[in-house]
């Protein structure tokens, strides 16, 4: 299925290639480079590019294009999903998936790619199994390896491929048995200038870090499972049990994994935790514009809104912005016209604001007064949907594990500012 893989950096250099069948010349990437040139933004390169003899399917992550070369019909999502899995694995192994990290660990990268695909068909993609085959590099191990000449490759052959629990390695042992679950929710919203919600939805995930000895069998139940409208599971979750009892029952993989992704039913009203008031005005014929933006908390159930970051693409006509932030720092890039304001934490007593003037290109026509404003924020110890874990039980092992559950809410794709016509002004 997947013939070859090329890794291309943002300046258009191929810095790694791997072939699973016969070698495909790297000149095939020329078609990709053409598409890259045509695209105004790096994200705009089409994920699927047909060429006379091959098809190129690529993903862009961490400013690296992972370009897979395909020779015949294959579901494109199959390739895309696999490429993302490769990136996730690299990230898992090296902490970062940057060009430098990949170049530094080129041997491990190659060993991984060799195990993940056989003749272009995925072979081992579970992190638990890969980690048994190929040890992740650590500073200590690198030092030791150079001195002793020992290796990254596991001496023991992996058991996982034959286990009935293919995602969990056997023989797991810990002195401290711990299981942590992070419930992280993201709000995606489009809010119009007047503050009314055009669309808002909550997506959540439960990320787990489970370090438990042996073969623990866990069940996790919720106080209010009905909130979960649509879910997708890690393969370890027993689906029928969920269907019948709304309980997550699973034998977890060892280490970090995503147990569940969910969508909160759209019938529930989404509480929007922040509001933005902004007023951007340009006067016809003047080379000055006014900029005013205030943020405030709203429906946060008493929790602090933290790590707030506001960014907005100002109209092209704006030359510079001379603003005054009541807290945090702002930057304006005169080339990309991107305004970013790192607000930090919102103090409800003293609302953060950003005010000042903008200078405009002389003679330009009056720019659009409603640029999109994108907001990022975090709220700790709260799942905005109200989802609550009821209890976590462990069966199959005798020890008492330490259990922890953390909640967090974040902004997902949270945008505001665009003016939505209330009364259809198409009617002339």
């Amino acid at each position: 299925m997947i013939h070859s893989l090329f890794l291309v950096n943002s300046s258009g250099d191929i810095f790694l290639e791997k072939h699973w069948k016969s070698v495909v010349s790297r000149s095939v990437c020329d078609y990709f480079f053409e598409a890259q040139e045509r695209a105004s933004e790096p994200e705009n390169v089409p994920p699927v590019i047909p060429t006379p003899h091959h098809y190129l399917i690529s993903v862009l992550r961490h400013r690296i294009y992972f370009v897979a070369v395909i020779q015949s019909e294959v579901p494109p999502l199959f390739v895309i999903e696999f490429l993302h899995r490769v990136v996730d694995t690299f990230q898992d192994y090296f902490g970062l998936c940057t060009e430098a990290a990949i170049k530094d660990n080129v041997v491990v990268v190659y060993e991984l790619l060799e195990e993940m695909l056989d003749n272009g068909f995925p072979l081992a993609t579970e992190s638990n199994i890969l980690k048994e085959l190929i040890k992740p590099p650590t500073i200590l191990r690198t030092v030791v390896n150079t001195i002793t000449g020992s290796t990254n490759v596991g001496e023991q052959l992996p058991t996982g491929q034959l286990s009935v629990v293919p995602w969990r390695r056997t023989g797991v042992k810990y002195t401290n048995n711990e299981a942590y679950f992070d419930v992280v929710e993201e709000i995606d919203a489009i809010i119009d200038k007047s503050g009314s919600t055009i669309t808002a939805e909550i997506q959540g995930v439960i990320d787990a870090c489970v370090k438990l000895t042996g073969m623990p069998d866990l069940t996790l139940s919720f106080m209010n499972p009905r909130l979960l409208d649509d879910v997708s599971f890690h393969p370890c979750v027993r689906f029928k049990r969920w269907e019948a009892e709304r309980i997550l029952s699973f034998i977890p993989p060892d280490g970090n994994f995503r147990l569940l992704s969910y969508h909160v039913s759209s019938q529930n009203l989404v509480a929007i935790p922040v509001y933005v008031k902004h007023n951007i005005t340009f006067r016809e014929g003047s080379s000055q514009g006014r900029f005013e933006l205030t943020l405030g908390p709203k429906q946060t159930m008493g929790k602090a809104v933290e790590s707030v970051l506001v960014s907005s693409q100002l109209p092209r006509g704006v030359l510079n912005a001379n603003l005054n932030a009541s807290q945090g720092t702002y930057t304006f890039d005169p080339v990309t016209k991107l305004l970013t304001w790192d607000v930090g934490k919102i103090n409800p007593q003293k609302l953060p604001s950003l005010k000042g003037s903008m200078s405009l290109q002389a003679g330009a026509s009056k720019p659009d007064e409603n640029p999109t404003i994108i907001i990022q924020f975090k709220i700790q110890q709260m799942a905005i949907s109200g989802l609550k874990v009821n209890r976590l039980d462990m069966y199959g092992e005798k020890y008492k594990p330490f259990k922890g559950i953390k909640y967090m809410t974040k902004a997902g794709k949270f945008q505001t500012g665009m003016q939505r016509p209330h009364v259809s002004c198409v009617k002339a």
Binding site: L77, E111, P166, P235
Partner: protein
């Protein structure tokens, strides 16, 4: 001199390359392992960067047999990369792999096969073939998986091997391992996708294994099964479906269908078709986006139209994933939303465009929103579109204007509104917006050639300010086309054009010539001179096209002696009413490709694309799939999501894990063990065949008892080695992987036996027969127990048992020893001061019940206790099962008398099914009584709890408040038992039981009545 310096430079580079590689060669030839490893790492670095390292081949290949695993692996990487270029040298390594293929470690065998088959050297084709054939019969499923991968490699190296490879594929398709399934289907798709006949016998198995196959294999299998189903089942789409009305082809097809099958015959879905739909549905919840998409396309292509809706939520969920995933999913939704907008309409807001979306995502969302537009939501959509028009992304703004145009043509109610809105946009500051609006207005006016002179006038006024050629050309065309509506303006525009003609773009010039011609025909008095002037300009234009057009127009409109017959018709030619352009979705014809495929994405047939056939008009013989009728058992086994199911087998029979000793493990892997297994399988399948052809045959029973004998012998042989390991109930969870493997094996062994029993009609009573038939159609699955009482009953008191105490408990799980059996858990405790040995159930049982004994317990230390499980077929009666509990010294007669509620297994069914079944069990099959209830039991939960604690029943959801329903089936005969409680007021009500088993029905009635009356 510069040339020579280049030469020097080049040779220096070459030297340095040679030098460096020389360096590596020395390292590889050193005796120190660490140096070799270091060298190999650097070489892999070279390969990764695409640098040539082929001249090191001889030095590298020497290390192929290294003991160091990492070194060996890196050598493999190198070999696979360069073997094709250095074929002769590559042959040196072959013997190493041939040796490794015989290694006792399965992973070494697998990796040897992997590398051997990746060496693309034609000479070794026979060796590869041999290795693949051998590996395909390997005991390790992992090696067999590798063999499946190797099939494709060999096929791409030498297509002449096809026939032999198909034989291997055929063999591997029969494999029952979930590890192999995906890979062999992949090989099937690459080598012989047209050999649908190979799939028949494996179809049901693949459907049933599907949830437990790894994610990537699932995608491949689902896509193959989609194709398969389209050739084997008849269309579930009703002729008068919403779908067919806009497709001419379907219309003719349905005609044919009407001819083929009498109209009166209602459509009945093939159970195999249903099986596929049912078993793929849970995979919509997969984390793997490719799996979700493949199930979605399966439903799209195979499910009845009213069921397709289940996929929408999952597809919309995928829109949260990476942008590349969004791109593919949106494309597929775009195609779907043309045909079935209804299923996506509730999710319209999920397709709202965000300013951060890349352009290709924005355009796709726009496409979908346009497809979804209808009279009801159009105002919302247009409002949304208005914000998009203001987008800074001008390409997107232009696409939005096109979309508004499409909405305007599709929904006549808003045509005027849209048109007016577009006219407003003509005064937009941005030129691309204006230009696009002009183009779209032009198209709209064509579709609505009524009173639009105002708009045309307005556009004529704007004309001077518009510079985009396409827009200018469009306006000119409009004025020309409708010049009689704007008789004053048109000549003036032509006058202006005459002035600027020479500096215009070609498309504008062409339209100017057009306008001139039309005006000449309608208003020659005012425009004759102007036209001639323009035609003269055109005659000497630089462009061929313009000169040609000018010449043509002149001949056509200006009558002279040379002009032919055509000029008479000039007016009819130029001013003919023109068909309005169709504003259609670019996804309109995409559904000719199977959804989710690469071909669908690129909208042209990709290499290797396999067509989805049309439904057959008459269903092909469905008996070709009859081999293994394993649904009843399999359904229960794979009630989990993913491979976790095996672990559940364990939960059913907690003590099973311990009964399986390690000793037999070796046997499982040894050749003899497998042969035996294979033999069993062989006989098994042949007798299954006969069982399906004739409803009851004595050979079944024979093989039944045979396999049972074998089972019990097996466990008796082996139970000696494990009793010291087993020290209590909780131990069961510690059972290691191998045990579980054993367990799986055991469960599978048990399965065929049950199969026969399930398929032999319990009695020859015609009604039962009918019920049985029904059962295969309506989904009624045995579910897990709602409630398991913890209470246990005494079987043997320690005083009577001389220190041996026994208690029994009903775990309410399906019994794996036989599906007519009730599973019973015994807890044996040694309360004496000496070790008890050889605890077992004696041969003699007084009553006629069929009992599956627990494996004998070798030793039970003082104070220790052990839990074992057994199965008893009570024949659906409460008659006690009497048997003897033996130790080495003593025998104790004991008996287990079940309460009626334990003779059931809970069943899940819908309210609708419940009513349907209840309707069939009226008259003498119904017993009922008025009940009075203790006040504690009247609450919703308390009542249910009470009921399920008395009897092992499943709760049937009801829509009514005061009505409670429960369903179960009797364990032995499998007859349904339906219980309903209708509360008339807070403390009294009516209890009704419908079942064919009237005796246990009335007993259950009594028990329930008593229980509800008690607090």
């Amino acid at each position: 001199s510069s040339g020579s310096s280049v030469n020097i430079h080049a040779s220096y580079l070459l030297m340095s390359v040679l030098h460096r590689n020389e360096d590596l060669r020395e390292m590889l030839e050193s005796t120190k392992e660490s140096l070799k490893l270091e060298a190999m790492k650097r070489i892999v670095g070279l390969i990764a960067r695409g640098k040539n390292a082929s001249e090191l081949f001889p030095a590298v290949v020497k290390n192929v047999a290294s003991k160091n695993i990492e070194l060996k692996k890196l050598v493999y990487v190198y070999l696979v990369r360069y073997a094709e270029e250095q074929q002769d040298l590559a042959l040196l390594s072959i013997s190493t792999f041939q040796r490794a293929l015989k290694d006792p470690n399965q992973l070494i065998r697998a990796s040897a096969l992997r590398v051997l088959s990746s060496i693309r050297v034609p000479i070794i084709v026979p060796i590869m073939m041999l290795a693949i054939k051998e590996a395909a019969t390997d005991l390790s499923p992992y090696v067999r998986k590798t063999a499946a991968h190797a099939i494709q490699k060999l096929y791409s190296l030498d297509a002449d091997q096809k026939e032999q490879l198909i034989e291997v594929i055929e063999k591997l398709l029969k494999d029952k391992s979930t590890l192999v399934a995906g890979s062999v289907v992949m090989a099937f798709e690459e080598v012989c996708p047209d050999r649908i006949d190979l799939i028949h016998k494996n179809y049901r198995k693949l459907c049933n294994l599907l949830v437990d196959v790894e994610e990537w294999g699932q995608v491949v299998i689902i896509s193959m099964l989609t194709r398969y189903a389209r050739t084997q089942f008849i269309s579930p789409w009703k002729e008068d479906g919403i779908f067919d009305e806009n497709s001419e082809q379907a219309f003719y097809e349905s005609d044919e269908e009407k001819l083929g099958t009498p109209q009166s015959k209602p459509y009945i879905m093939d159970p195999d078709h249903r099986l596929l739909l049912r078993n793929t549905k849970p995979l919509l919840q997969s984390r793997n986006t490719a799996v979700v998409m493949s199930v979605a396309q399966l439903y799209w292509h195979l499910a009845p139209k009213q069921e397709v809706g289940v996929i929408t939520k999952s597809l919309v969920r995928l829109l949260r994933s990476h942008r590349e995933v969004q791109y593919i999913v949106l494309q597929n939704i775009a195609t779907m939303s043309i045909q079935q907008k209804g299923i996506f309409e509730p999710f319209m807001k999920s397709f709202y465009v965000r300013s951060t979306d890349p352009t290709h995502i924005k355009t796709l969302k726009l496409e979908i929103l346009t497809n979804l537009a209808n009279e009801a939501n159009i105002s919302t959509i247009l409002r949304e579109f208005q914000t998009y028009v203001k987008s800074q992304d001008k390409a997107f703004a232009a696409a939005t204007i096109q979309a508004i145009g499409r909405c305007a043509t599709n929904i006549t109610d808003v045509t005027d509104t849209c048109l007016n809105g577009l006219v407003l946009l003509l005064s937009n500051r941005d030129e691309t917006v204006v230009a696009e609006s002009v183009v779209v207005i032009k198209k709209l006016l064509q579709t609505q050639p009524t009173q639009h002179s105002e708009i045309i006038k307005h556009m004529a006024k704007l004309f001077d300010n518009i510079t985009v050629p396409m827009a200018r050309a469009s306006i000119l065309w409009l004025i020309g086309e409708y010049c009689e509506r704007v008789p004053k303006i048109a000549p003036d525009v032509l006058r202006k054009m005459a002035k600027t003609f020479t500096v215009e773009e070609d498309i504008v010039k062409l339209q100017t010539v057009n306008l001139a011609a039309k005006l000449y025909l309608t208003n020659s008095k005012q425009t004759k001179l102007l036209t001639q002037y323009i035609l003269n300009l055109g005659k000497y234009d630089q462009s061929y096209d313009i000169r040609d057009r000018t010449r043509f127009i002149r001949q056509l409109i200006v009558p002279n002696e040379k002009s032919g017959a055509l000029s008479k018709y000039a007016r009819r030619i130029l001013l003919a009413s023109k068909p309005a352009p169709m504003l259609e979705s670019t996804f309109k014809d995409r559904d000719r490709f199977q959804l989710g495929t690469l071909s669908h994405t690129i909208n042209s047939k990709a290499t290797g694309y396999l067509e989805l056939s049309d439904w057959p008009t008459a269903a092909p013989d469905s008996s070709v799939r009859n081999v293994e009728v394993m649904e009843p058992v399999k359904k229960e086994i794979s009630w989990t999501f993913g491979a976790a199911s095996e672990c559940h087998v364990k939960e059913w029979v907690p003590s099973m894990g311990k009964t399986k000793p390690l000793k037999s493990d070796d046997k499982f892997y040894s050749d003899s063990g497998e042969e035996e297994g294979a033999g069993e399988e062989g006989t098994g399948s042949s007798s299954e065949d006969s069982s399906s052809s004739s409803s009851s045959s004595s050979s079944n029973e024979e093989s039944d008892s045979e396999s049972e004998d074998k089972n019990s012998k097996h466990s008796e042989e082996t139970d000696s080695s494990q009793s010291d390991k087993s020290s209590g109930h909780s131990d069961k969870k510690k059972a290691d992987k191998k045990k579980r493997l054993q367990l799986k094996k055991k469960a599978k062994k048990a399965a065929p036996k049950e199969r026969y029993q399930m398929h032999r009609p319990p009695t020859h009573h015609p009604l039962t027969q009918e019920l049985w038939n029904l059962r295969t159609f309506t989904p009624k699955m045995v579910s897990s127990p709602v409630f398991v009482p913890m209470s246990s009953h005494e079987l043997l008191h320690r005083m009577t048992g001389k220190g041996l105490a026994a208690q029994y408990h009903f775990p309410r799980q399906p019994c794996i020893y036989g599906n007519k059996m009730v599973s019973v858990q015994l807890t044996l405790t040694n309360s004496s001061d000496h070790t008890l040995e050889d605890i077992s159930i004696g041969e003699k049982t007084s009553s006629g019940q069929n009992i599956h004994r627990f494996s004998s317990i070798e030793r039970l230390e003082p104070g220790a206790s052990v839990t074992v499980s057994m199965g008893i077929d009570f024949n659906d009666s409460t008659q006690a099962a009497n048997f003897q509990l033996c130790t080495k010294e003593d025998q104790f007669s004991v008996s287990i008398q079940p309460v009626v509620g334990e003779l059931f297994l809970p069943v899940t069914m819908t309210e609708q099914d419940f009513r349907k079944e209840q309707g069939k069990l009226q008259g003498m099959n119904e017993t009922s009584a008025t009940i009075t209830m203790a006040p504690e039991n009247t609450s919703n939960q308390a009542l249910s709890k009470k009921m399920v604690s008395v009897a092992n029943m499943g709760v049937v959801p009801t829509g009514e408040d005061s009505l409670y329903r429960f369903a179960a089936k009797s364990v032995s005969s499998g007859d349904l038992v339906l219980v309903s409680v209708d509360l008339t007021d807070s403390s009294s009500g009516r209890l009704t039981i419908n079942t064919e088993k009237t005796v246990i029905g009335s007993m259950l009635l009594r028990d329930l009545k008593t229980a509800l009356a008690q607090p």
